[in-house]
């Protein structure tokens, strides 16, 4: 509890896990309350212990490769007329920001004396990161993954297995990420005395939204300092994609009090919000309770969760972290949908202009942020600065890219992918 007073209370949760007294909280079975209380105490105790904090920093540095670079994308900057900086989380070990969260939670698991971890995963990124952390810390690991996703992401299933994790396909409900979370919770209820649940994003019941944020906030803390050191200014805007919201809140936290810095989250717009086939939870959802927190939820008139759709499995979730709901309600951050087609366009653009193939999740942020950069460039000139969280690399998405762009045929007749910056004609 002691650190609560040193954190920015205005945007932070109270000690019961409510943001703005409304969002978040802990809507959970009594059977898990003791475990969540134990976790809350252990996390707060750990964050106040310099030995834990420095061990966390050491592991991230030596093993995961942080701090990640803040890279000036010059060609991209010229295209949009503003300075575009990429926070290179794609260069972390396992290829995404997610390693920060799992190394934090696994280190905490060790500290709590538990021997087994469970995790849910959609595309497999958090599952791979969890399996990696489990290998590093010598913990048993079981990963729940929707059966639809295990078929779509066989390569990641194999990676988890090679790392020593057990992958359990989940057939219930829609057999995707939300059902994998349900199944992991069911495991946890029955195994809580020796098992820690490594939650994959800044959502779920208290303390997960705050704890996951704390483990990911290095992204923004580093980027803010790097921007000041490298350019002598704060950015005019920061941008990230939002699935559950961990990479976004990890970037945003450092800038919340810098009221002059615009904060932009980009949600998966799927086929377009108007089609109903999307996962733009904040933009198009309504307040409700899902997986233990009050937040925006894609739901029908009766409060049944509606299936989400996105080309990017990592964003394909009908809920969102409660702190984002609060930031949206406050107007401190803006959340805008980006469609599948727009994201794929940005994937191609970044690949061809910078030689960086982003994850499709990340490509949503790239597309949206370039629009922001164009506007800021027009308003403030070419020194206008936008930081984009490059949350992950695109290797895992090559199957989707092959299908989308018709790649992979080397007979020399395939047309090169034409990359168009947003707002420009092909």
């Amino acid at each position: 509890m002691s650190q609560q007073t040193t954190q920015p209370v205005k945007y932070d949760a109270d000690e019961r896990g409510y943001f703005g007294q409304t969002w978040g909280g802990r809507f959970m079975p009594e059977a898990l309350v003791a475990a969540l209380d134990e976790l809350t105490d252990a996390w707060q105790d750990a964050m106040a212990d310099p030995a834990f904090v420095s061990e966390f920093e050491r592991v991230l540095r030596d093993y995961a490769g942080t701090p990640s670079r803040l890279y000036h994308a010059e060609r991209l900057s010229r295209t949009v007329g503003a300075r575009v900086l990429l926070k290179r989380e794609d260069l972390n070990h396992t290829g995404a920001h997610k390693i920060r969260n799992v190394m934090g939670q696994a280190l905490l698991t060790k500290r709590m004396g538990k021997t087994r971890v469970i995790a849910e995963t959609g595309a497999g990124q958090h599952g791979v990161a969890s399996a990696t952390a489990a290998a590093y810390f010598d913990l048993d690991c079981t990963v729940y993954m929707g059966a639809v996703d295990t078929r779509r992401q066989a390569l990641n299933v194999a990676r988890m297995q090679l790392l020593g994790a057990k992958v359990v396909p989940v057939e219930s409900g829609s057999a995707t990420l939300k059902d994998a979370i349900n199944e992991a919770m069911r495991d946890w209820v029955a195994s809580v005395d020796r098992t820690a649940y490594l939650f994959g994003t800044a959502a779920g019941p208290h303390p997960f939204p705050s704890m996951v944020r704390d483990f990911c906030r290095g992204i923004g803390d580093e980027a803010r300092q790097q921007c000041l050191d490298q350019y002598g200014v704060l950015p005019d805007a920061v941008a990230a994609c939002v699935g559950g919201g961990s990479n976004a809140i990890g970037l945003f936290t450092a800038f919340l009090e810098d009221e002059g810095v615009e904060i932009h989250g980009f949600e998966p717009g799927g086929d377009g919000v108007e089609t109903g086939r999307h996962a733009a939870t904040i933009h198009a959802g309504e307040a409700g309770v899902l997986h233990g927190a009050r937040t925006y939820v894609l739901q029908d008139e009766d409060g049944q969760t509606v299936e989400s759709h996105s080309i990017s499995a990592g964003l394909d979730y009908p809920g969102v972290g409660p702190q984002h709901s609060w930031l949206a309600a406050l107007g401190r951050a803006t959340y805008t949908p980006v469609t599948d087609a727009q994201a794929m366009e940005a994937m191609a653009l970044l690949s061809r202009t910078e030689g960086i193939i982003p994850a499709i999740e990340t490509a949503h942020a790239v597309y949206g942020a370039l629009d922001v950069a164009r506007r800021l460039g027009a308003e403030k000139g070419p020194d206008a600065t936008v930081i984009i969280n490059l949350s992950g690399r695109g290797d895992k998405d090559m199957g989707t890219a092959i299908e989308w762009f018709g790649l992979g045929d080397a007979d020399g007749e395939a047309e090169p992918v034409v990359a168009t910056a947003p707002g420009e004609e092909a």
Binding site: A31, A34, R186, S191, D193, V289, R294, G303, Q304
Partner: protein, 272 residues
């Protein structure tokens, strides 16, 4: 609160006066159909259930095992709506048996908690069991339930601290639901070292009845639980009867009646 008699506590009092436990039966509304669930629940009442729990099917039932999940999913696929649940409540409550709704929170928040409490009371519902709401995060429900004179059944678990058990017992009305195994709903061997002590800890904090959910699926298991609990809660085993006879309604109802009779005898055999 625990001392105010309600239709639910009266059912427990009556069982206690007969030196036995109460039989609490669960079935989701809309399974196998809205009418089918009414027929089935009435059959359970006729064959000896003392208290009825009607499940409100939900897309993300984190506390339920495969059997109840399957039933709820079927009900949703067949289009059951929240308003249908109230219709089932009304039809079952007409029999005079205390009828509670067991539901995850989001459908209630969506319906509007105040409107829900009012409509539930109008339908003759006795109250609500809330598996994903604890009293410390349930003030909206508590206020609405109190305003409409409804029972609030909260859960305790073997992992609950004594402080939390005391808090939960104090905030509950009707009975306290002891989820006596660490795990999801589902028929199992129904023995647990954890159940007896858990009931004892609830008793130590008030005089509210304690009903135990532990995966009971036959009369002998019911008798074992009845030896230490005020109520024996059965859910998955009832659902199983209907799932096993999905193509033959009459056979499903027959199985349901036979199971209820066996369980009703069981709660009377438990030495108390």
């Amino acid at each position: 609160m625990g001392s105010t008699p309600t239709s639910t506590t009266q059912a427990f009092d009556k069982a206690r006066a007969e030196s036995r436990s109460a039989l609490v039966g669960y079935l989701p509304a809309g399974f196998p159909s809205v009418e089918g669930s009414i027929t089935a629940l009435r059959a359970m009442v006729e064959a000896g259930c003392d208290v009825i729990e009607i499940g409100l099917p939900y897309s993300d039932p984190v506390m339920d095992g495969p059997t109840i999940q399957a039933a709820a999913q079927q009900a949703l696929e067949r289009g059951v709506r929240t308003a249908d649940v109230l219709r089932v409540v009304e039809a079952v409550a007409e029999t005079g048996v205390p009828t509670l709704v067991m539901t995850y929170w989001n459908p209630i928040e969506r319906y509007g908690v105040e409107r829900w409490a009012s409509d539930l009371a109008k339908a003759g519902g006795a109250g609500m069991i809330t598996p994903d709401i604890t009293p410390d995060h349930g003030s909206a429900w508590i206020d609405a339930a109190d305003a409409h004179d409804l029972d609030k059944v909260f859960l305790v678990a073997p992992s609950s601290t004594d402080d939390r058990i005391a808090m939960t017992a104090a905030e509950s009305r009707g009975f306290v639901y002891a989820a006596a195994v660490m795990g999801v709903t589902g028929a199992r061997d129904a023995s647990s070292d954890l159940a007896g002590p858990l009931v004892g800890r609830v008793r130590a904090s008030g005089d509210i009845p304690v009903a135990v959910g532990i995966g009971v699926s036959n009369g002998d298991q019911a008798a074992d639980v009845a030896a230490y609990a005020d109520g024996v809660i059965v859910g998955s085993a009832f659902v199983r009867c209907l799932l096993d006879h999905a193509d033959d309604e009459a056979a499903g109802l027959e199985a349901l009646r036979a199971l209820t009779t066996d369980l009703a005898e069981g709660v009377r055999r438990g030495a108390r």
